[in-house]
Symmetry: C2
């Protein structure tokens, strides 16, 4: 290899870590619809949100106009421990695919939480600390978010109480153990510690829990314990704001090597990674300064964008959270137990939903066996074992690269490699043993989910 | 933090990856003693070694004089996927310790094998491929080496057959699964696939295996299958040669920031990491160009340096491997089942043994509960969950930093952070639950090991 080519990994200098997060909403002509109070049907106010969320985070959540939020120096210092993350040129994957396309990925997995979740966890924990709070509560399913929050809280000396969906608590004892090592208290949900938990246990004695139930418990503890607030790792506007660091760094790295991506691909569960990755590029598109193709990739088993409705819905299955206007399968829709826990959410970020609705972004649904096929090919050629969630993006990046091979197009493809799969090896084992299957909901399955959508007058 | 200070992470440019490995033996006044043929008691010749090892690797193994071996471009390209690894300034750990010492670590865990083992795995697989071989065999205990070799073989399209100690195969199914994902065949040892395996199974029907037995099986398959050779992840001179990349990069990074380390610390099992990390610094010391303190850290439960004998011994418990002159507890010594599988070896690299014997290096034995205490402190402050092996070095780095606090000395401390602990969470769980204990062998335990040392006339 010549010494003058684009390097395998482009790192920004630590002093080049962005000094401000970018708020994509500021450049959106059609703003995302506001959160509504499910009781009154009226937009939620800061006063209604501050008992649940930290004050500064509420401000960030509701601000559709400020383009840049300065990143506090303490957060930048924390980012310096594991950022800037590399922008990687996938030379080895290109060679294996024998494609004229140039493939890049922004790799967010090189930290102990194993994913991009840490970018928002440290921000949310920081503002809780600044407000003089004692601790925060949250829920976790697969465990990436809970791990990230535990790490951030350990760093700042903040209590961290995680309600972990019971089935995950039992099946993923190692995720639980990482959180404990970082000093978090981890409770299997439903638990007897909350009124809602006790109620659910009384009604469904053998239940293994759900994300909706864990959210309800975390919110109950946060609102009823002095000095605590609730934090969330995806879906919210504030989360996409913090995650803009991914896209800002990626764009700066591309500028450094003099390359412009043509296609930008990310997996989408609640939207935290995709929203962060695309934000500065989408901003350019919205301002008419440049054009890009954006592709959101979701599991065929939980196809919010590709088969969902654009409507107001609850963010949680317990129906205690605000109503958000989003692409949704209905808060009662139960995704099949696929192996990408981070993508098993019925709804989607309101920002991304509006962009998709306005035709600014494409979406694609992929089946999990084809996702793991892509994951294995990627692992063997690029040397990184990817998370199942991230592998959805890999699948479509490979598909697009193969299309370039047919057409001879030399597109620059960027995808978000959100994390590593070191805690997902039961899924790899199923794939390696040929025991993985696909599941696509029928129209009737979807209709049952849509039937539960709340009636909201807009 | 000011923008002009030493950064958290110093990365070399990819074009600054060393172009040659450094052979520390070339600068040693007293060369390490040669390997002996256990049958004849005579130094092993290249002819005797080539049926087992690849030709170029045999050449590297026996060469005590050539100071630099050029790194083939294909290996440099592979290194570019995950190297240069960062030299990290542990600002956050320093702050927590409130020490005047400046702590640095060379972090080798940011690749899917999770450790430095990949540096030698790719080299050994490359030479096997160059020789036109079909595949390689090896053994693995905890799994880092087997994983690294699987990755290297997948990249080069080489068969990889791993004999995994049965108890690890069963207790660490996820390690096994990573290897399978990289296309390796993983066999629990002892197995019925080899004569030696069948013999051991007949004699000890319920055995859960040992590293010595797995080595015997891997060597048998390598020597009896056309187109195969055996490879090993530690102890050998060739491995230390390849691992010199760690120290060469660390030294180049220190030069870049204008810092000279005073104390260099590494964990020591067979010596692959410690030998690689210290090599260019030790070279300067041997040539009288600079002085450094070197500290090898080993588990108190397996104290080869601090309580072993400097004598010829078998490298394996099965007594089929060559005799090496080294600090050893006797090939029959059975270390307690501590949680640093990579350090549970009765002997030590002949190079490091000679250096220690010549008073050029110190050694310290530490107990595992104090190791996990250090690991947890490190994880919470620096955001990386360390491997139990690496945490031995962390323990002593912290001890030295605390000594600086007492004396007011502003020493620059460097330690090797060889890997991450994502597959060691059962050990962390034991520690978190307060169920971890220490074990220090009695003098009588050691005498039993020494009683098995072979009689060798030197």
């Amino acid at each position: 290899m010549s010494e003058n080519k684009i390097p395998y990994k482009t790192y920004l200098d630590e002093n080049e870590i962005p000094k401000a997060w970018y708020n994509l909403r500021a450049d959106m002509k059609t703003k995302p619809a506001p959160l509504l109070n499910p009781g009154t049907g009226k937009p939620l106010t800061a006063e209604e949100l501050t008992p649940i969320f930290c004050e500064e985070l509420v401000r960030q959540e509701l601000d559709n106009d400020t383009a840049y939020f300065p990143i506090p120096q303490d957060i930048v210092d924390f980012y310096r421990m594991y950022r800037p993350s590399p922008l990687v040129r996938a030379y080895c994957l290109e060679k294996v695919l024998d494609t004229p396309a140039k493939i890049y990925y922004k790799f967010e997995g090189n930290n102990t939480s194993g994913s991009h979740k840490l970018n928002s966890a440290i921000a949310q924990a920081y503002y809780a600390k600044q407000q003089g709070l004692k601790g925060v509560t949250t829920e976790t399913g697969a465990g990436q978010w809970g791990t990230a929050l535990s790490m951030a809280c350990a760093y700042l000396g903040l209590d961290c109480k995680v309600f972990m969906v019971k089935v995950s608590y039992e099946q993923k004892p190692f995720r639980r153990e990482v959180m404990r090592t970082y000093g978090a208290s981890v409770t299997p949900s439903p638990s007897t510690e909350t009124a809602v938990g006790r109620k659910i246990l009384a009604e469904h004695p053998g239940t293994t829990g759900s994300l909706g139930c864990a959210i309800s418990e975390a919110v109950e503890v946060a609102t009823q314990t002095p000095g605590y607030r609730y934090v969330l790792g995806s879906v919210l506007n504030q989360v996409l704001l913090h995650q803009s660091i991914i896209g800002l760094e990626a764009k700066a790295a591309f500028d450094k090597i003099g390359v412009k991506p043509d296609i930008i691909i990310g997996c989408a569960g609640g939207g935290s990674n995709l929203g962060g990755l695309i934000s500065p590029f989408m901003g350019e598109k919205l301002r008419g300064e440049a054009d890009y193709r954006f592709i959101a990739v979701e599991p065929a088993s939980c196809p919010s964008f590709t088969r969902g409705r654009f409507a107001y819905d609850f963010c949680d299955t317990g129906m205690i959270c605000p109503l958000a206007k989003m692409y949704t399968l209905g808060s009662g829709f139960i995704p099949s137990p696929n192996h990408a826990g981070g993508l098993r959410f019925h709804g989607m970020s309101t920002i991304l939903s509006q962009l998709y609705h306005d035709g600014l972004m494409e979406a694609r649904a992929v089946e999990q066996t084809s996702v793991f096929e892509a994951a294995e090919l990627f692992a063997r050629s690029e040397g990184i074992l990817p998370a199942p969630e991230s592998s959805h993006a890999i699948r479509v990046a490979i598909d697009e690269a193969m299309r370039c091979k047919e057409t001879g197009g030399e597109k620059n493809i960027l995808f978000g490699l959100t994390g590593t799969g070191y805690f997902d090896l039961l899924a790899y084992q199923k794939y390696n043993d040929g025991e993985m299957s696909d599941y696509i909901p029928t129209d009737a399955d979807l209709e049952r989910g849509f039937a539960g959508l709340p009636k909201v007058e807009e």
